[in-house]
Amino acid sequence: MCNQVKKSRIESGMTQLQLAEKTGVTRQTISLIEKGKYNPTLNLCLAICYAVNKSLDELFWIDRRKNDEKDQR
């Protein structure tokens, strides 16, 4: 699932490893989340939001139309 984690992390001046340490997961998990290859639980989503000082909306919200288009592809 596409998200804004990578953009927000770079804006916060953090590396994947730093974000991983802050959220208590491995760097590989952060990498997979950024690529949209792993869907994190709500708890991890919140931990990422707290780490980069953004809201859930800003990081993970996808417009319904865009999401439907993506599903049809």
């Binding site: 997961v25 590989q28 792993y38």
Partner: protein, 146 residues
């Protein structure tokens, strides 16, 4: 070994455990069947591996009841679980029926028929009790939603 905190790795570990469980079960089954072929049909059933297989399967089925209760609750219309005494009567009926069948096949051993009947009654009652508890819990959870 370090404790895994990463949720993704926990999921991967669970998948690995599932594969290992499947492999182990197939292995035990193969050994039991092999023992039956080489040392006679009873040797397989007398093997402790067979006991492990039966106990782990029973444990798995008991644990899986939580999943069945959820599926049943979402598939059927929500309703209160049947009263507990019905489950006791049903278990008693199974126990008596099985005891009778065993008594009719071997009339010289009424004690073994009685013991078998009691075992069937206890086994059915235990599984029905777990199911009743889960259904009641699910029903009270649903009531909280109203």
């Amino acid at each position: 070994m370090k404790k895994i905190k990463d949720e993704r790795l926990n999921l991967v570990t669970l998948k690995n455990v599932r594969i290992a469980y499947l492999f182990q079960t197939v292995g035990i089954l193969a050994i039991v069947i092999y023992t039956q072929f080489t040392s006679g049909p009873n040797a397989g059933f007398e093997s402790p591996l067979f006991l492990v297989l039966i106990l782990s399967s029973s444990l798995f089925l008991f644990l899986q009841m939580r999943v069945s209760a959820d599926i049943e609750a979402s598939e059927k219309k929500r309703k209160k679980p049947r009263p507990y005494y019905l489950y006791v009567i049903l278990s008693l009926a199974f126990g008596v029926l099985m005891g009778l069948i065993i008594y009719l096949t071997d009339r010289q051993n009424p004690i073994s028929a009685l013991i078998s009947g009691i075992v069937f009654f206890v086994c059915f009652l235990a599984s029905y009790s777990v199911m009743y508890y889960l259904k009641k819990k699910r029903s009270s959870d649903d009531d909280d939603l109203d």
